[in-house]
């Protein structure tokens, strides 16, 4: 049974209601447990758990340190194209947005790679808009060998692809593929994704299965916070994670829980999540899944990141530019979303060291996962 079929049997409303049923005693019992069930996670995500945030954070930090040590991985996004055939209400790259469209050619990509490498970065996350025809597998086939030469880890955040295409990407040297569901709530999903392939919720929901079937080493999943009730979305995300871990036991998993950021032409956030709630969500996932990699991007402010990283985060972006050519080729072009932490890589690394955390630039080799 694919996750799409499983998801169809889930009753969003009743899950949302269950969240209100937990007591303070329930939360205390869950925090002291060693292995958490989905119901335990639901308790930690519930309103009743908000009062236990200090205890939750303390336990999360303990679990994170034991599993990952006092280290955090650094990466930078490499935006290759802002062409997009989708219309999403919250995104600055949407089809109807009047932005100058650009897709980097090989010479421009090399220039960007050199600029990123000069910042000391060894792990890169390739990002594009979703444009199947112009920025599809043929484009990736052409550019990946070049990017591969510069970085020890190559991660990809592009449109959902087929299993065969993921298999080819693995062969070309892709170590991880991130595909975020944005929301598991069907009506919210449809009201925010108005045109293009992204309107097909089944295709997107089954994407991690296709990545898993292709044997890609790491699968990144996540939700965009602000589109629907975050507690219920998080429970469904955890169900998805658990399903994938059972199916594709050799894959690593990483989690990303970005909040909607202001962007050119973007909407006001319908269901905003507070700083405290985001910390609750991140720490709850850490206790639910001690081995889960959790990343936190420059969407969040320097102050927020500095305080949350030691609790549960294993990987952060630094020195990021969110437009194609942003590092060197065209630094003044319009970005996908506005960045809230504009510190340089050196500044981020120094801040980590001052907190007793070792920044890790490299943790992979080209012969692994091929």
């Amino acid at each position: 049974m694919s996750f799409y079929h499983k998801w169809q049997t889930i009753d969003w409303q009743s899950l949302q209601l269950q969240s209100r049923a937990f007591s303070a005693a329930d939360i205390q019992a869950v925090i002291s447990k060693q292995r958490l069930t989905l119901v335990d996670l639901q308790a930690l995500l519930s309103p009743a758990a908000a009062a236990f945030l200090p205890q939750l954070a303390s336990k999360a930090q303990q679990v994170t340190r034991q599993r990952f040590g006092a280290t955090v991985q650094l990466y930078a996004p490499l935006y290759l194209s802002n062409l997009c055939a989708n219309e999403c209400t919250y995104c600055g790259f949407s089809l109807s947005q009047k932005v100058k469209r650009r897709t980097l050619n090989l010479a421009e990509i090399e220039q960007e790679c050199q600029a990123i490498k000069a910042m000391g970065i060894e792990q890169v996350l390739i990002v594009t808009g979703e444009h199947e025809n112009k920025v599809g597998i043929a484009y990736f086939r052409n550019v990946l060998p070049l990017i591969r030469r510069y970085f020890s880890t190559v991660q990809l955040e592009v449109q959902p692809l087929s299993t065969d295409e993921y298999s080819e990407l693995k062969y070309l040297g892709v170590d991880a593929v991130m595909v975020y569901q944005e929301t598991y709530n069907q009506s919210a999903y449809q009201s925010h994704h108005l045109r293009g392939n992204k309107t097909d919720i089944a295709w997107r929901l089954n994407t991690p299965d296709r990545i898993g079937n292709a044997g890609i080493d790491k699968i990144g999943i996540g939700i965009l916070l602000g589109l629907s009730d975050w507690r219920t979305d998080a429970i469904l995300l955890a169900q998805h994670l658990q399903y994938l871990q059972h199916q594709y036991w050799q894959s690593r998993y990483s989690l990303s829980v970005p909040r909607i950021r202001p962007c050119s032409g973007g909407i006001e956030t319908p269901l905003a999540i507070s700083d405290k709630e985001l910390v609750q969500l991140i720490c709850a996932f850490r206790l639910f899944s001690p081995e889960l990699e959790i990343s936190l991007s420059t969407r969040e402010s320097a102050v927020f990141r500095q305080h949350v990283i030691p609790l549960a985060i294993t990987s952060i972006s630094a020195g990021s530019k969110t437009q194609p050519g942003g590092y060197s080729v065209a630094p003044d072009s319009l970005e996908q979303f506005s960045i809230d932490d504009d510190r340089t890589v050196v500044q981020v690394a120094e801040a980590l060291k001052n907190q007793g955390i070792q920044p890790v630039y490299k943790d992979w080799e080209h012969y692994l996962g091929r």
Partner: protein
């Protein structure tokens, strides 16, 4: 004295170099532990740099490097990592670890045996991380491994010698050193492993993630010395009932 292949070591403690909050702290902890054999992950090394933050401090200490193949999910990847390690670090010593399961990082017995056979053929001194399986350990020994490294519990779990009954069989049967790797969370666990007759223990998380890694490293040094001395002296057998310290039948010898 710990003897592995053609080398001898005064210390029966091996350390992992990951998870420390800084390379300086790692260096200080290794020094305080008295350890002479330190593992390092090939995937973490940046050989393009003149001063890698993992390799340089270990070189300064002059310890024997034990590169590991962490990240490898099968024999093929582990063999590539081993060859890279030999070329880059100028050592044929290798901690072979293959874990296809990224969640509990359990070693793959099938791929480990395949890789061990090939690496021994290629001239490596192979120390394989493996499950606490007495038959597998004998197969690895037959394959020519210089030691076996069965787990006490899951990596980083600090749960101690959960596999104790199997470890006892492995130690009893082994003709090569048995190094207990993974799960050792407290100095008492290390002492216990050596009291059982293990040749050495490997520790990382319990030291690196301690509030005071240097003091903890020293505590492990002392525990390993105690455990090893106790084993050599001969541990007293536990009995269900009290035993008189002066034998009650001594008079029979007088008759």
């Amino acid at each position: 004295m710990l003897c592995i292949a053609d080398k001898t070591f005064d210390s029966r403690l091996l350390l992992g170099s990951g998870k420390f909050s800084s390379s300086q702290l790692m260096q200080q902890a290794v020094a305080a532990s008295g350890c002479q054999l330190v593992t390092l992950a090939m995937k973490r090394l940046n050989l393009a740099l003149k001063h890698d933050d993992l390799l340089t401090p270990l070189r300064e200490l002059g310890v024997q490097l034990l590169p590991n193949t962490s990240g490898a999910k099968n024999a093929k990847e582990a063999i590539l990592a081993a060859q890279l390690a030999r070329d880059a670090l100028d050592t044929n010593w290798l901690k072979l670890e293959i874990h296809p399961d990224p969640r509990y990082l359990m070693p793959d017995p099938i791929e480990t045996l395949i890789a061990a056979k090939e690496l021994v053929k290629q001239g490596f001194i192979v120390l394989p991380y493996c499950s606490a399986d007495p038959v597998l350990c004998k197969h690895l020994e037959d394959a020519g491994c210089a030691a076996v490294m069965p787990l006490g519990a899951a990596i980083g779990s600090n749960q101690g010698l959960q596999t104790r009954a199997m470890l006892e069989i492995i130690i009893q049967q082994a003709a090569i050193p048995v190094i207990i790797d993974a799960g050792i969370g407290a100095p008492s666990h290390a002492a216990n492993a050596l009291e059982l007759g293990a040749s050495a223990v490997l520790v990382n998380t319990a030291i690196a993630c301690s509030n005071d890694p240097v003091t903890m490293a020293n505590a492990f040094r002392l525990a390993c010395m105690a455990g090893s001395a106790a084993y050599q002296a001969g541990i007293a057998t536990p009995y269900q009932h009290a035993m008189a310290t002066s034998p009650l039948t001594a008079f029979l010898d007088q008759l």
